[in-house]
Symmetry: C2
Subunit: 210 residues, 2 copies
């Protein structure tokens, strides 16, 4: 990425802010501390972002792009390693769990959740972007699930949108519990339980012993 001088500063501000926001929330992250760490002045900051809201939006945008790339990669690799869509999805979930487990200190948390619990702080644009991200997740996982149901039936009748949402639900919930307890292993374990559900739901019943 060739970055101009301005772009590099903007990126530095975003990186510093993201760490701070995930560590202590958006409201508790002061512009002053960000500019102190970035080595710029307040005027410099407001040259790049009109206000804190614009910073929030840019941050969420950046977060979404990276998150998207990670999920693309994980589930594409899962699909490559497997012979059918169901197995691809299961491998993808396992890879995701491993990726989350391998992060030093655990996943730092999700900006979507951070924003969801501070909505009044933000303007409509930011809230809409947050909503869009969740719907984007839903569409992503639904696509994968639709490929699965073409090959195998579910043992219980389920709403595919809700099932797609369950992936996001488990990730968000796992992150909340992980943060609240300080245990980074909760998220990976929860992802493996979700995997177990998907497996039970789609795999033909085997009477085999484990």
């Amino acid at each position: 990425m060739a970055m101009g001088r301005g772009e590099a500063t903007r990126e530095r501000i975003l990186a510093i802010t993201e760490a701070a926001v995930l560590a202590k929330g958006f409201g508790a992250t002061s512009i002053e501390e960000v500019i102190a760490e970035a080595g710029i002045t307040k005027s410099g900051f407001f040259y790049h972002f009109r206000d804190k809201n614009e910073l929030a939006r840019a941050l969420l945008q950046r977060y979404m792009e990276r998150d998207d790339a990670l999920l693309d990669d994980v589930f594409a690799r899962g699909r490559e390693l497997a012979t059918d869509p169901l197995n691809g999805f299961l491998v993808g979930l396992k890879l995701l769990a491993e990726t989350m487990a391998d992060l030093p200190g655990g996943h730092p948390g999700c900006l979507v959740a951070t924003y969801a619990y501070q909505e009044r702080l933000f303007d409509r644009g930011v809230c809409e972007l947050n909503q869009h991200i969740v719907f984007h997740w839903r569409a992503r996982f639904r696509t994968l699930l639709e490929e699965i149901v073409e090959h195998s039936e579910t043992k219980e009748p389920v709403d595919l949108d809700a099932l797609a949402d369950m992936v996001s639900t488990v990730i968000e919930g796992g992150l909340v519990l992980g943060r609240a307890t300080g245990d980074p292993n909760i998220l990976p374990k929860q992802l493996m339980l979700l995997r177990s559900y998907i497996k039970l739901l789609f795999e033909p019943a085997t009477s085999a012993v484990h």
Copy 2:
């Protein structure tokens, strides 16, 4: 509850603050707006709470007690309506989903999650209480699950602590998604999917049509 004059004011402050915190986060909730709504002065506020941190702790304490009472009730009723522990748990989950769905405007959100994403604002006592609540949930659901495994085996090998955590995970994740999208139905639906998992996991395979 017979309340003294002081206790009533304290309770009023907590009720107003809880609504505000769930609506826009703790950082964005100013003491000034709380006292304005409560009709007291700043001095009056600081007579009851030393600082914002003590308010946070009292709020979380209150939240925990109510949450506890609700879960006690729901799963006790579930157990009464059913013949065995597994069915009792499944009915409890359904009752919980219905309770959440019946709340006007949906569940307002969970304070544990709110606090989890703003930890640096709080002192150790508050963070420890937050952690304690999650472990308390784990113990609660684990107890119920242990009764179930005494009667029926799981089809997949699962860690009971992780499975107990999954209830909290789905609730927290469902709330995050519900808040982010503005759709209060997500949480109930996710609870029903969790129910479906528990069912598949413990119920002997039936070849019956749904």
